[in-house]
């Protein structure tokens, strides 16, 4: 019976981590539904991007208020997690504050965790006010109604509760240390929780132990819960920001991919020595390659990783010229739709023994409308604004490609423009022989 807490702890840890691993596997499988894309080039730039943008938060601080608050929560999250290591060891081996032997350094660690925890609480409260009281525009767009809004607040509540549990645990521990209770070694500095400790002044030792244990357990179980909440929330960015910035764009933002499948066909058409009849025999078996994207499987895996990484901050949408002028297009919605459809496809695969069964739906029309796609000016403001290197523009272009090349569904004016280019090499109906007239006008 003596080892019961250790066993329960080990079980909780195994279940918590196991469930998390299961979700990560599902996540990876879903991302791999995307097409292959070559990301092997320019490793040093990629590493630099990841270090600067994800680790260094360089694009977060472009907006100083949100950026500064985010850095606090980010640093707090990483550093306070060192404490989790101690909690896990204590939990598994029935020890208490196993790192206490570090003496002054331990005091410094616990003291800094406490100050960070306090700052995180302040930042989280301001974040909540920005979302719910100050009502910052980008958090109120139509795509934020319902679950996305709840999700955003829920994350803030969980973080708040975790920080309070951490501080309460320390406050009661401090009381027990001062009472000289057995197992409660005198260790650590408590710059914040010393102000909470007086709340427990009149509480007896045995009750204090119950409080301390309760806070300790709820804190670690809360962390395990949060870890597993990630997959169901927009909060995955805390993990995926790193691979996403690594695999993000290294070429100039203006460079759009050249479709290889098209290159092959165009070369064949332009090669005077090509035998038009030979081509058909060389055609590989199966369906011909589809141009552009109408569903998530037509996108590449980095674009799908982008979708899971999006934390719905809406900086893209607030910079989008189409959105600012009241058009339906919202780059954030493009990412959210991509993820929602990908999740739907993933659930379909799970329900059908690993095989996707067509469900009569697709990303185009069922999630993203043509009206949204045609409103884009390809100005790259969304790409520039994203703090974690997400590229909504590439998805928009891929879907336009499908509309134009597979469905011939471009707006009429654009069809006119394109037939002008085909006929006389300019988007306007002018004679190519008149190209130099401007010299003498």
């Amino acid at each position: 019976m003596h080892y019961l807490p250790n066993i329960i702890f080990a079980l909780a840890l195994v279940v918590g981590v196991g469930f998390f691993v299961r979700n990560i596997k599902k996540l990876t499988r879903n991302i791999k539904l995307g097409k292959a894309v070559d990301v092997s080039n320019d490793k040093s730039t990629r590493l630099k991007n990841m270090t600067r943008i994800a680790l260094g938060q360089s694009k977060m601080v472009v907006r100083p208020v949100a950026g500064f608050l985010h850095v606090i929560v980010y640093v707090g999250f990483i550093i306070i997690n060192i404490e989790v290591l101690e909690i896990i060891i204590d939990g598994l081996f029935g020890t208490h504050r196993i790192f206490a032997f570090m003496g002054g350094f331990y005091d410094f660690l616990i003291g800094s965790f406490e100050i960070l925890a306090f700052l995180v609480i302040v930042a989280v409260v301001i974040f909540w006010l920005r979302r719910n009281v100050i009502r910052i525009q980008r958090f109120l767009k139509p795509e934020m109604k319902g679950w996305p809004k709840k999700d955003g607040n829920l994350i803030l509540y969980i973080e708040l509760v975790l920080m309070f549990l951490f501080l309460t645990m320390n406050a009661v521990d401090l009381q027990l240390q001062e009472l000289g209770a057995a197992h409660y070694v005198k260790a650590g500095a408590y710059p914040i929780s010393q102000f909470i400790a007086p709340l427990f002044d009149s509480v007896g030792e045995s009750t204090l132990v119950i409080f301390e244990r309760t806070a300790w357990w709820l804190h670690i179980l809360g962390i395990l819960f949060f870890l597993n909440y990630l997959y169901y929330s927009k909060h995955l960015h805390i993990l995926l920001a790193f691979p996403n910035t690594y695999y993000g764009r290294v070429n100039p933002q203006g460079e759009f991919s050249n479709l290889d499948a098209v290159t092959k066909e165009v070369k064949l058409m332009m090669d005077p020595s090509a035998d038009p009849f030979a081509a058909t025999t060389e055609e590989p078996e199966g369906e011909p390659e589809k141009f552009g994207a109408s569903d998530v499987m037509d996108l590449n895996w980095v674009q799908l990783l982008n979708a899971y990484t999006c934390t719905e901050c809406g900086r893209c949408t607030s910079e989008c010229p189409a959105n600012q002028t009241g058009k339906k297009l919202s780059p954030r919605k493009i990412m959210m739709d991509t993820r929602d459809r990908l999740e739907e496809v993933g659930a379909n695969i799970d329900a059908n023994n690993g095989e996707f069964v067509p469900d009569g739906k697709q990303l185009l029309d069922d999630y993203i409308t043509k009206e949204e796609l045609w409103a884009c000016t390809t100005c790259n403001a969304c790409v520039q604004a994203c703090p974690v290197s997400i590229d909504p523009l590439s998805i928009i272009v891929e879907m336009r490609r499908y509309l134009v090349m597979e469905q011939s569904a471009a707006p009429m004016e654009l069809n006119n423009m394109m037939s002008n280019i085909e006929n006389n090499g300019a988007p306007w109906p002018y004679n190519q022989m008149d190209r130099l007239n401007w010299v003498n006008e």
Binding site: T325, V383, R400, V404, M405, L436
Partner: protein, 261 residues
């Protein structure tokens, strides 16, 4: 404009057995659009002044296919690109300058993958080069005391990180350069990109160019400078919509420099 411009085609260079210093890619707008043609003329005036031995393709030039690509017609884009590349490679072109950031972007970034590798620069970068090397010298002070605000074209700025060259050239005109609140990386699009130039905008509560000219007008400028024929059209229309065409003019960096010499 009655001034005679000296313009030679690549065909003429070939006939003489010579290579030009640089090829001027005029682009479809620069060739046919009435407003943009003036920009082409101003730029050539500067090239003539600096004694640059340049060529144009003339009737052999064809659309880069950029606008087709942005519209999603990759097929048409690559057809255009391959035709142009065949021509450019046949002439052994090494260096290209263009007044159109869209041509600049596609020639520089998207042609190499299809076999067209050239040193491509925007005309504001080339003008800076000519000024730095002393081939062009500003003597006039046409714009002294005038307030000029520069609108960053998306395909020059965010797309290719060229922010300083146009500003450096503008500074040479002795004008007062004033920045809009959103400029460089955060500049708002004029509304023409992504093939929007050729279609009606989707339903909304404002046109993008109206919003962008509002940004510009907040700086109380005498002149809005651009480096893109499409931005020029959009900003000019925007100024008209704000009924400011009597007090504010929209000019290309090349025109401003040409008037300053």
């Amino acid at each position: 404009m009655s001034e005679q411009l000296k313009v030679k085609t690549m065909e003429q260079f070939m006939a003489e057995g010579k290579q030009p210093e640089i090829l001027f890619w005029v682009g479809s707008a620069g060739s046919y659009d009435d407003r943009a043609k003036k920009i082409s003329r101003a730029f050539v005036k500067l090239l003539n002044k600096a004694n640059v031995d340049f060529a144009v393709l003339g009737p052999e030039e064809s659309s880069t296919g950029d606008v087709a690509k942005r519209a999603g017609n990759e097929f048409l884009f690559q057809m255009q690109a391959m035709m142009n590349i065949e021509l450019l490679n046949g002439y052994e072109i090494k260096r290209i300058v263009t007044c159109d950031p869209h041509s600049f972007n596609t020639l520089k970034n998207e042609y190499p993958g299809l076999g067209g590798k050239y040193d491509v620069i925007h005309h504001t970068q080339y003008l800076k080069e000519l000024l730095d090397s002393g081939r062009l010298v500003v003597e006039g002070s046409e714009y002294k005391g005038k307030r000029i605000t520069f609108h960053d074209p998306c395909y020059l700025g965010r797309a290719n990180n060229v922010y300083e060259a146009p500003r450096e050239v503008l500074k040479k005109t002795n004008a007062d350069l004033v920045e809009m609140k959103r400029h460089k990386q955060t500049a708002l699009c004029c509304g023409a990109g992504g093939a929007q130039m050729f279609k009606e905008p989707e339903k909304g509560d404002m046109d993008i160019n109206i919003l962008r000219t509002k940004d510009a007008l907040e700086t109380k400028p005498n002149i809005i400078a651009t480096g893109c024929p499409y931005c020029n059209t959009m900003m000019t229309d925007g100024i008209k919509a704000h009924e400011k065409e009597d007090t504010v003019t929209v000019l290309d960096v090349a025109e401003l420099l040409a008037n300053s010499l």
